[in-house]
Symmetry: C2
Subunit: 101 residues, 2 copies
């Protein structure tokens, strides 16, 4: 399994447009083979920071995602809407476990 955390600081004036775009991106990505989880959230301290939490079964699923039209479209939009440096981190997981609270 591969976990990806992607964080995008967004220009407040572009936030609504970006959220709309991301809702489409989420819907299409969740149809892809090997995508376990693909959700976007906004930071509780700064609602203009958008955070993706993504999980993929394997390298192939992650690779296929980055080759999709909807991912390319999102990437093309970024230079016009970013308000800072994005960060995308990839974590190769050797063990996953649900924790009881």
């Amino acid at each position: 399994m591969i976990v990806v955390h992607a964080t995008f600081p967004i220009d407040p004036d572009e936030r609504d447009r970006v959220i709309e775009h991301i809702e489409e991106l989420e819907a299409k990505t969740r149809q892809e083979d090997g995508v376990i989880e693909y959700v976007a959230s906004t930071d509780i301290d700064d609602p203009n920071v958008i955070r993706f939490t993504e999980r993929y079964e394997d390298e192939q699923a992650l690779g296929a995602h980055t080759q999709t039209d909807h991912f390319a479209e999102f990437e093309r939009m970024l230079p016009d809407v970013l308000a800072g440096e994005p960060e995308v981190m990839r974590y190769d997981v050797e063990n996953a476990e649900e924790l009881e609270l």
Copy 2:
């Protein structure tokens, strides 16, 4: 490194109180040894779903966090504010890498 994803569906009437509590929880947790990242966000589709993205250097750091007063306080509050089942997943990471967009 250990990544934790925790998701809490919150009663809309309790949302403001919970967010306030989480801001304190974040501030205190970020002071702890071995806590690399500890951020909370709200889902873009449902703002009453609160998502924690957490990273710990090791088992000891995660264990110490769960023994803190501020974590215990948050856990005590949950039964009164949840609107559904929480999910807490732990991922043991064998490799971490920043991805270029």
